[in-house]
């Protein structure tokens, strides 16, 4: 699984500091209609968005129609996909499809919360460190580096193992609190470069306060970048959560895609050839996260003319 499984590349602004994305942020002000123009014509962005949207709609709209608990024993045991049970049934006769759509829900939720918290922390730390500089920067940087080198997944395993309440919220919180460092670093680098821009000084000359400068002057310039960061964190959170669920450290109640894989494996679905039990959840995760990543490339191309196909 992949704790902050942020692919080496799409982490913008990492490395020597002048990674991809720099231009995206700094060259931000494309004319609005131009952005839309490119967005609508970017196959990567569109394809990714469509997949995510379809899964999101499935997660939000389908469960009410199914009614009842996704864990209820509704059908014959261990049936392959059929007209009645689209994704087949589990060892106990639970409807895999029902579990899948419910699982999608918690997957999105974890992504949103975990990614959101991580983005929030990353932003605050990154902005403050980058804008304030000096000792504040040093200290924040130190903290960032510490959290960065701690293998998040392993920390989470330890934490989750001793945790009494293992709800999806707690899980998201923990994921959020461990996966922000790279985002903070990237945002800090961006902020550093933006903070030297004259318009920041001009805002100070206009009597603006520091927080207003950060959030009303600097942040809007990085909006596309921040959005992309959030997408990556979102995907990363989903993957971490799936990993935790898979080793049985997920929320014990309810369903999630990781938990489905966990159940499938612990009830010998592989040996019994019940592929319909373990393929959909993994596919769901891959589809969501993969589509997010691909959307991210698309966005990068939209915001950053240098990357466009020529």
């Amino acid at each position: 699984m992949s704790a902050q499984q942020v692919p080496g590349g799409p982490v913008p602004g990492e490395g020597v500091g002048a990674g991809p994305g720099e231009a995206a942020a700094v060259g931000a002000p494309r004319r609005g209609n131009e952005t839309v123009y490119f967005a609508l014509r970017n196959p990567k962005l569109l394809a990714g968005a469509v997949v995510v949207a379809v899964l999101l709609v499935a997660a939000l709209a389908v469960p009410p129609f199914l009614g009842g608990s996704p864990n209820a024993y509704v059908g014959p045991q261990a049936q392959p996909p059929s007209a009645e049970f689209w994704f087949g049934t589990t060892n106990f006769g639970q409807d895999v499809f029902a579990q899948f759509v419910h699982g999608l829900r918690s997957t999105f939720l974890v992504g949103l919360l975990g990614g959101g918290i991580a983005a929030l922390v990353g932003m605050v730390v990154g902005f403050v460190a980058g804008y304030r500089g000096g000792l504040v920067d040093e200290v924040l940087n130190m903290i960032t580096n510490i959290v960065l080198v701690l293998p998040a997944m392993v920390v989470l395993i330890i934490a989750a193992a001793y945790l009494e309440a293992r709800g999806i919220l707690v899980q998201s919180l923990f994921i959020g609190l461990t996966s922000w460092p790279w985002a903070a670093r990237a945002i800090r680098a961006q902020t550093l470069s933006l903070a030297t821009r004259d318009f920041v000084d001009l805002a100070r000359l206009s009597g603006r306060r520091a927080h207003a400068i950060i959030f009303r002057e600097i942040a809007p310039n990085m909006s596309s970048y921040l959005f992309m960061t959030f997408i990556l964190l979102f995907g990363g959170a989903i993957l971490i959560a799936a990993g935790l669920d898979f080793i049985g450290l997920g929320p014990p109640q309810g369903v999630s895609l990781g938990l489905m894989m966990h159940s499938a494996v612990s009830w010998s679905a592989l040996q019994l050839g019940m592929w319909w039990w373990f393929v959909p959840p993994g596919l769901g995760i891959t589809a969501i996260v993969g589509s997010l990543y691909i959307m991210n490339v698309g966005l990068d191309e939209v915001f950053n003319p240098r990357l466009r196909e020529t």
């Binding site: 942020v6 293998p151 392993v154």
Partner: protein, 331 residues
């Protein structure tokens, strides 16, 4: 330069300190008593006998001391390389348990990391700016990195292992074999290693390929590339330079990704019942073996820290820019 490393070392030391402290703290402030858990499995029907044993083992593990003293003792023994005794695999020292598992984990991780890094970078560089490759391979790469490690493992185990029967899906080598340098043993070792390796490799490969593809595009647009092209340098040379320069950020990426890949290896090991740290951690979890869990955690953190430091050093050695800056040379 030394100051740079000194500072790096300081950060790592601090990280280690924090990690150790967190690690020490968590089990002690959470409910449950490791000794009770351990003895819960003892078929001691008699409560008195059990109570006597509990007292005995608690003092054996030093759990009856004041908290601050436990903390100091923890550091003390840690510095002596003593990670305590495993509760689950009593009375094996934790360090011994871990050392038994580490070769397997490293055997998976090191080749997976290195090969995926090398192959991914080569491939990414190859795909970049090739219209056809870029558009087909790129999404595949992204899907690969988006694949949960364990799921890829499950798919591989099921398809190539169970259905096709080509590869074994459990253990490190055939159960009939004894470690030796024989062909049978080595081939069995490799067969068992292959699928877990492959699933780690594939996921990481996707990430590196994409990372490289993105990096090299920037490098190909860099000023020095344009200059070379304007002077009519062949594309080969330009790409070679770009590749080398793009590789450097990828090296930092490697440091950043280590934790993730390690986590991936843990999950993969669980899927393939590979006798490495991953399975150890899972069992330590299931058996409430705090000491083993802590040990494994520390070991991994230490490993990641060391690897990070090595990458830092390598980075400085291969990138003249950083080196010069650190020597306070001209900017």
């Amino acid at each position: 330069m030394w100051r740079y490393f000194g500072r790096k070392l300081f950060v790592y030391a601090l990280t280690f300190f924090v990690a150790v402290t967190i690690n020490w703290m968590i089990p002690r402030f959470m409910p449950g008593d490791p000794v009770r858990s351990m003895l819960a499995r003892a078929s001691v029907g008699n409560a008195e006998a059990l109570e006597a044993m509990r007292a005995y083992y608690s003092s054996l593990f030093g759990l009856d001391l004041p908290v601050w003293q436990q903390y100091l003792n923890f550091w003390g023994s840690l510095l002596r390389g003593d990670l305590g005794t495993s509760v689950w695999l009593f009375p094996t020292p934790v360090s011994e348990v871990i050392l038994g598992a580490v070769p397997y984990t490293l055997g998976l991780l090191v080749p997976a990391i290195l090969l995926s890094w090398i192959a991914g970078n080569k491939f990414g560089a190859f795909a970049a700016r090739g219209r056809w490759l870029d558009n087909t391979v790129l999404p595949v790469g992204y899907l690969l990195t988006a694949t949960p490690y364990m799921w890829l493992g499950i798919l591989l185990a099921w398809s190539l292992g169970i259905v096709a029967g080509i590869f074994p899906t459990a253990g490190a080598y055939g159960f009939a074999l004894q470690p030796s340098l024989s062909w049978a043993f080595v081939s069995s070792l490799v067969l068992h290693w292959f699928l877990p390796f492959l699933s780690l490799f594939l996921v990481a490969f996707g990430g590196w390929a994409i990372g490289m593809r993105n990096m090299i595009i920037y490098e190909l647009e860099a000023d020095y590339s344009s200059y070379l092209e304007a002077l009519g340098a062949p594309r080969r040379l330009v790409r070679r330079y770009a590749f080398r320069n793009a590789l450097l950020p990828q090296l930092t990426g490697l440091a950043l990704q280590l934790g993730t890949i390690v986590a991936g290896a843990l999950l993969t090991e669980i899927v393939f019942s590979y006798p490495g740290l991953g399975n150890l951690i899972l069992e330590a979890l299931n058996n409430r073996d705090f000491f083993l869990l802590q040990g494994a955690f520390l070991f991994i953190v230490l490993g990641v820290l060391i690897a990070n430091f090595v990458i830092d050093v390598v980075y400085v050695l291969v990138d003249p820019r950083v080196r010069v800056q650190m020597q306070g040379g001209a900017a």
